[in-house]
Each structure stands twice: as C-alpha cells, then as structure tokens.
C-alpha cells in the first residue's frame, strides 16, 4: 500500500478533472477508478459517507473528499510545481477567486441550466455579468489566472473552458461571446492548449450527449 495514490472519479465531472490536472501537473502517479454514480462502489460510500460524491483521493489508504480540500492537500504534500503563490497575501487573493467561482458559479449554473424557460435569458445575462467581473478583476491582462503559468485558480475556472459550451448549446444562448469577453475567450484557448491540460480534457461530443440526456430526464419529470 505505502504511498499509493488513488482517485475515485466520474468522467463528466469538472471537480474530478481539477484533481486529475493537479496530480498530472505535479507528475504524481495515481490509479484512477471510474465510479458509476448510479451504482456507487462500497469503497466510495465508505470513503465519503457524508456526501457520497466524487472526487475522492485516497493516499496511503486514507481518503480525502471535496475537491478544494483535496487540492490544498496535494499542494501541501507535493509542494513542487506549486499551484498557489508563495506569498500569503497573494494566496489569499487566489483563494478569494476560488471561493468566488465556487459560490457564485454554482448558483449561476443552476439558474441557467436548470431554471425555467422564461428565466433563461436573465440567467444568461447574470452569468455574463459574473464572467465580466472574472475577466476584468481576476484575469486582467494576464495569460492565465496564475500569471504566466497555470495555477489552482485556472483549474477552478476551467469549468468555463469546457463545461459551459455544452450548456450553452443546450440552452441555446451563447454566454462566453468572444466579442463581449475577449480576454476570457483567449484564456479558454490558452488553457486548453497547455500541454498537460490538452492531453486530459473531456470529449466535447460525449459531454454534450451526457448533458442532453440529463436535461431530457429532467423535462420528462413533472415539476
């Protein structure tokens, strides 16, 4: 067992990808276990009894749940190729944006994706306002949120790199317009072209099919 690293994941999950990227950026060897969320393994339920969710990182037999907690753990145990700034103040700024994306992002996605028909346009505008703040205040004129190289903030915002597109297609509204959000649009391109990221991205067709299935299931249920 020793220092073995295992990751329990689910292929469409952006939360799982954050951990995959962190491990790969730091060159950490790990075993990946694909979980079927409709039929969760005994191990997963034992490792994460509180949320029963992925990702779960298991290091030397000890489980850690919640992607942000996992990322901080990885950063502390394997500090090479750092994903957070060294300076405490800069770290607090990075964590602020991570918290912002997590907090605001979640409710914006919920409104846009799961919200009722009439509210979609408004939800899209609210999402745009959020992205504008992120573009102007978090990204600024940097190539990545982490500056010249990717850091944890980029991994958290990666949701806008790969997961917003299938949702835009399903909802029929483009939020991440290149003309309205030029820097963020450029960031998406740069992020996806980074060597390790490029080799570890979810298949866009497969993602679209997955979200299409999810929303059609929702529509067929009575509200």
């Amino acid at each position: 067992m020793d220092n073995e690293v295992k990751l329990h994941g689910f292929w469409p999950s952006p939360f799982v990808y954050r951990v995959i990227w962190a491990l790969k950026l730091k060159g950490i060897e790990y075993d990946y276990i694909e979980e079927d969320l409709a039929n969760k393994s005994e191990l997963l339920l034992r490792y994460n009894p509180v949320y029963e969710k992925v990702p779960v990182l298991v290091h030397a037999g000890k489980p850690i749940s919640e992607s942000l907690v996992i990322l901080e753990y990885i950063e502390e145990v394997w500090p090479h190729n750092p994903l957070l700034p060294k300076d405490p103040y800069e770290r607090s700024v990075a964590r602020f944006w991570i918290n912002f994306a997590t907090d605001k992002g979640r409710s914006a996605v919920r409104s846009l994706f799961w919200g009722g028909g009439d509210g979609k346009k408004e939800a899209a505008e609210q999402m745009f306002d959020l992205l504008k703040i992120i573009e102007e205040q978090a990204l600024g004129d940097k190539k990545f949120f982490g500056g010249n190289s990717i850091n944890m903030v980029d991994l958290i915002f990666a949701w806008f790199a790969c997961w917003i597109q299938p949702m835009e297609q399903l909802v029929g509204i483009k939020v991440l317009e290149p003309s309205r959000l030029p820097s963020l649009h450029a960031w998406v391109k740069n992020f996806k072209e980074e060597p390790i990221i490029k080799e570890n991205l979810p298949d866009p067709e497969r993602l679209l099919a997955y979200y299409t299935r999810l929303t059609s299931n929702l529509v067929s249920k009575p509200t």
Binding site: S65, R91, R95, N99, F100
Partner: protein, 230 residues
C-alpha cells in the same frame, strides 16, 4: 516594531456569523486589531474600496491590504501569524480533515438559513435537514476531535478552526431557537455538539464574541419580518 508594522483592521457587523469567525480567530491568536462596525444599509466608502466585488463583511485589512471571505481570512491569519496558537493542525491529512469539517459547519449554517427563510408552516423539511447535518457533524468529529467522548479538553489555549466555526454558527443557538420558535440543538439527539458548544460559550474569550441573546433575538425577528433573505 512601529505602530504601522502590523496594523490590523476588521470591518464587520455585530450579528454576522462570518464576522464572528474572524473576531474569535484574532482573539485566539492574540492579534491586536481595530474593529470598524459597518452599517450594511449604508456601507462605508472604505468597505466598498476594500471589497468591490462582494461589498460584504468581514474584510480584514492588514497593513492597508484587504483580505475578504471569512475562511480565506482564517487561512491567511494562520499563515502570517505562524507562531503561537494555530487554527489548523500541522500535519497535512489532519489539515484536510479540519478543512473538510470546517466547510461542513458552513453547510450547517446554510441549512439553518434555509430554515429561517421557510414559512412557519413549511418548517419540517428544512429542520430535518439541519438535524441531519448536526448528526453527521457529531459522528464525523467524534473520533478525531473528541476521542474521550466529551469536550473536556476545550480551553482557551487550544481552540482551533472547528471551535471558531461552531461558535460562529451555534454560539447564539438559543437566540436562533427563540426567534424562530424551533428546536435546533437537542442535547438528547446531539449530546456531543451540545456539550461542545456549552463548553465553548462558557469561555470568557468566546463570551466577548457571541452577540447578546436579546439583541440577537431582536435582530433576527426584525430581519424575518422585513422579508430579509438569510
């Protein structure tokens, strides 16, 4: 060390659980600070300058530089004031565990807010959610935080992030129960959490931070009546 060397200012609001976390953390770590009470209906230009994105409290201003978001502030305090009392343990796995449960106590607060937002007739489901979270919390922290099954080790000298989070959420639990006529914390159902918070609110340091009962009941009832969304 001159007076400008480590100037710490906390912008807050007396009833905010998020502010209370930072206040208690500063006191635990023995960090002298200046407190600025904000009127959230008439926010100071300073607050808007220091937290333009969220326009919220708490904001910690350290030598003129603002740090926002309560949990981000707590991590910052531990990193900058790295000698003396620490909010998080040293060992990475334990740190992960503490961070997980600190985030869970925040989830508990969100469930309590859902309860506050519900109409009186629709209390049952949100209350069940609160009780479920309390149960999970009790089961979760029992083994690693209370191996002896009781809060005997709680003292002003060894408070950490979980104590800070619990005080912020459950410190005024009786006021919350009175304001909304609900039973949140039942010593029969959650004996450990009940005795844990009782031990905490007895400490003079914590007493300084938890808002006075009647004042808290008053503000909660006032907010509810004004249609405030918690």
């Amino acid at each position: 060390m001159g007076s400008g060397e480590n100037k710490v200012v906390l912008h807050g609001m007396w009833a905010s659980p998020y502010v209370k976390r930072v206040e208690l953390a500063l006191k635990i770590k023995g960090i002298p600070f200046e407190y600025v009470e904000e009127n959230l209906r008439n926010k100071s230009p300073q607050l808007l300058k220091y937290n333009p994105v969220q326009k919220k409290v708490p904001v910690l201003v350290h030598n003129g530089k603002p740090v926002c978001e309560s949990l981000v502030i707590l991590e910052y305090l531990d990193e900058v004031w790295s000698t003396g009392p620490q909010l998080l343990p040293k060992e990475p796995y334990q740190r992960a565990n503490f961070r997980f449960w600190a985030a869970y106590i925040q989830q508990l607060l969100e469930s309590i807010f859902k309860l506050f937002n519900a109409d009186k007739e629709a209390h049952e489901k949100p209350l069940q959610e609160v009780h479920e979270k309390l149960r999970n919390l009790e089961d979760g922290v029992k083994e690693f935080y209370f191996p002896e099954g009781s809060p005997n080790h709680i003292s002003a000298e060894n408070l950490g992030i979980l104590d800070v989070m619990l005080v912020s959420v459950l410190g005024p639990f009786r006021a919350k129960e009175e304001a909304f006529s609900v039973k949140i914390l039942d010593p029969g159902k959650n004996p450990l959490i009940f005795s844990w918070i009782q031990a905490l609110i007895e400490l003079p340091l914590v007493k300084e931070v938890v808002p006075p009962h009647d004042k808290m009941v008053g503000v909660l009832q006032f907010l509810k009546q004004s249609g405030f969304k918690f």
